[in-house]
Amino acid sequence: MSDPLKKELFWFALLLVLLVLSGCSSSDSGPEVAVFIEGGRVTSPGSSLVVTVPEGLSVSEEEVLSLYRAALEVPGCSTADGTAVDLILLDTCLLFDRFYLFRELVPTQLDGFSSARDYVDGLRLRDPFALYLPSETFGGSLSFLAGERATVGFQFSLDEGSVSDLNPLIISNILPLSRAWFDGLQVGDRILGLDGTPLAGLSLEEVRALFPALEGQASLFSIEREGLFLDIATGAEENIGLLMGVTSDIGYLRVRQFTTLTGQRVFQDYDALVQQAGGSLDKLILDLRGNGGGSLAGSLVLSDFLIDQDLPAGTNPILTSDGSIHSNAVDYLGEFSTRNLAAPGPSNFVVLLNGNSASASEVAAAALRDYEVATLMGATSFGKGISQNVFTLVDGAGVFIPSHHLLPPSGISYHQSGIVPDILLETAPVSPQFDAQLQAAINFLETGTMPLTKGTPAPQKSLEPLDPWLEKQLREYY
């Protein structure tokens, strides 16, 4: 993902565990020195720091002063040759100085950086989790994290610039069991229009604005597929709960993304499944494949629900690198811990992971394993064991600042290495037509066996309920 704003953008926000902080970082006001604001330039007689306020920026004088004074305390937030520093860049520099986990990467001076974006993009060369988002994009990701903006069950690729014949919007990946998957979108489909609006000429942001914004909201996609022009009615993702298995006694919960509302939604889905199953549900699959994270709080509520014990302080899944409990976890422990499920145990509870399960998903998966609640199956997860704090800059843009390591209860970091599941199903391809990993999880819960291990043939060859004799003959013959 070299530049997420141009490629594969739609899921970018899923890679975040975050805590949204407000406004600028100037909470303490700095030393009382004389500061002058004149013609958009901010100076102080006792300092070489010159700050320019962009024209048209809506910002109070008080805020500007506060930022300037804070910067006087931070050598890195100045220039060696005395060239003027953009106010937004200064705001960014101050935030990174204060919250950034990888301080060694922070530039010693601001020379050569013309903007906040420049500054963060420089860091991104070494740290993919540092991120700058312009204001128009940033607002959307905030509402997404708050559960106000839904995702679709596919990724698409688009080169820089607007949609055109030479720069088509093409579906690059479909999540199994997503609504798009059920409704028949395919990898390679070229999206031409949405709800009757042609996409040609629109920018990525304009396209995104047309996508269904609420969970479960319907939308009509006009696509071209191998020369065919098709209209496919599909819509935004919703978490789903289904009963599966030969006797419909396995509850399947798929959580596609974590928002602050995820916990409550899963409670509802779970209760509905228990009711459908006739009052009790002994087996469970939690599908976190393709879940790139989102709100840490959502993940914590879910973990706590599934782990049938109070999380003792200091051993909970959100221990941070300095040994303290993550600030978000305090809220979580205090406010969200409302329900506990009688844990079905690792022989009756499978969590499915894959390489796109990241961040908040990994927090949940690692905790469920370390507390011996669930068996993890699937592929090694993405490996994002850090959390980002999210800040709104004075101009409304946003920065995502990696600020803590997250450690699972075992204390062993999975950052970069990913979580290796108990049962690896890496050789099992997932196609829109057949979800071999899910089938393996069902088999595991029904028979206690592990139908797939590394190197075994893909389970497309599985004919399980077929007449065993005939199956044997066909296997031998073909």
Partner: protein, 672 residues
Amino acid sequence: MTRKIVPSVCPYDCPESCGLLLEVEKDRVLSVTGDPQHPHSRGRLCAKMLHYERTVHSPERLRTPLLRTGAKGEGRFRPIGWDEAALRIAVRWKGIMAEHGAESILPYSYAGTMGLIQRNAGHAFFHRLGASRLLRTICTPAKEAAWSAIMGNTAAPHPDAVLKSDLIILWGINAAATSIQYLHRVKEARRRGARVWLIDTYAHATAAAADEVFLVRPGSDGALALGMMHVLVRDALVDREFIEEHVQGFDELRDQVLDDYPPARASELTGLPIETIERMARAYGSVKGSMIRVGGGITRQGNGAMTVRSIAALPALTGAWLHEGGGCFFGTSTGAAFAMAELTREDFMQKPTRIINMNQLGDALGKDDDCSVRSLYVYHSNPAAVAPDQNAVIEGLLREDLFCVVHERFMTDTARYADIVLPATSSPEHSDLYRAYGSYCIQRGRAAIAPVGQSRSNRQVFSLLAGAMGFEDAFFRQSDDELIDHLLSIPSPLREGIDTAALGEGKAVELRVAPPGVPFATPSGKIEILNPVHREPLLRYIPPHGGALPFSLMTAPSPWSLNASFYERPELRELQGGMSLLMNPEDAAGKGCCEGQRVQVFNELGEVDFMLRISEKIPRGMLVSEGLWWMTQSLSGRGINALTSQRLTDEGQGSTFCDCRVDVRVMKQVEQ
């Protein structure tokens, strides 16, 4: 939304018509299981239907009507609405009818769905239109003609009869692919002590169910039957008493026919050793409870009807028919259970219109004269893939002046050549009434989910087209369920005593059919080995069409597909392992080909590429390709039917797919 279990029926063209239980939620079939209470299938399903939901909700399903925007066959379309589609069709047809007459319009369908209502949905419409009629003889009319010639209207034994057999002969049938419920009974009988033989042209998967496998040359089965009869008579292994009372023409057979088929001649024709034929005859003659199950491919030869008529004479000689587990099973006939004329409405025809044989579609489309076909309407069939002489069919479909409409669930080979493509429902999306040709079960299936996308059932489309054409007959305005109710309101002796309440609830019920026995349902009351009114009154060996090329190509069924159906399912395609050709190791060595190599099979009709698989199970001189791959999935853009001919069977005007001579050449490796 609650989840429910809905009984249904497998709609595909297979003798078994297995009972399904659909797990349905929110207009989606979540899973499919076999109905354990189904009298015939008893919960078992084949590998294809175990995941029928993957077909129903396949991402490949067509969802809107489409109008061609590219060249014919290019597959470029744009979506249009149903009203526009109907209007365009009606305008074109009215123009064609005014200029060339309605008979220049030809419907083409077969058994993509077996339900009576949807399968026959177009008959009334096209009769009313005055279109040409299609002679639907692509499957096994030769078998039906043969049965009728010797057994008249005698009913087939109940499929369970085989459980009481002592010797079961699976003759020309890969039951593991085409009749799994019957095969299950065969296995059960074998467990109880029955011996099982397989007689076929290659040792396919069903060989595993047999104690002995006898491989004969394609098209020579009739000679084997005559050779066995020769031995039975010579060695006095016939049931004189049974013959005396219940067989017509035994003396003529003995005196005028069998002398020509001593084991040596039968050996020469079939390739089986003389001793083997002698041994087979003696073993067959020594038991009463012998059951012969005849397949379909065996009849798709130039001599198909006479072949199976000769086979059907065997139990007449041993008197096996008097034994509970004895006789011969060609398939059940349940047509009389329903008043089919109420569906097909021949009375809508103003005058008898011309009839075109569906096996000769290539010729029909190739005609360029006053009576050429100007419009083709294809529904639940894929003639570009399934009709013989594919190159001729494609040439016809490419004609710019042919207005072609295809109503389908998927973008099939044929649909790609259409001017207008209409999306069709799958069986859980519409109501229908089902009967079987491998059992005596009937079942009513009700729509379980809403149509996928904008798809419509066959009847809904003909109702729409009837409106667009201005047909005011009330018939076209009935709903599917009203029509089913009407059919069920007309009594039939076959349906007497059935549990109508269970039928109404969607459960399978069995027709009460008396088992075959004396007197037989023929004009003489006897089995008519001599049929005096037939143009071939007695049995004889007729050679197949054959040809000069060195190999016989067997276009065989695969367990992972059914004709050209199920090719939308990637996991089934993968199980089939691609479009491959099976060849004997010595033949392969002789041609200098090796396993996995791309080879080209060719004859005077076409050239088709395959991946070569070398197998001991294929006799020398034979080539086998299982399955019926779409052109779009083939190696060279042509399927196996580019090699098969439009020639017909000796009787019944049936197809002769298995009567196909070819040669093989090795494909040069192309530098990548």
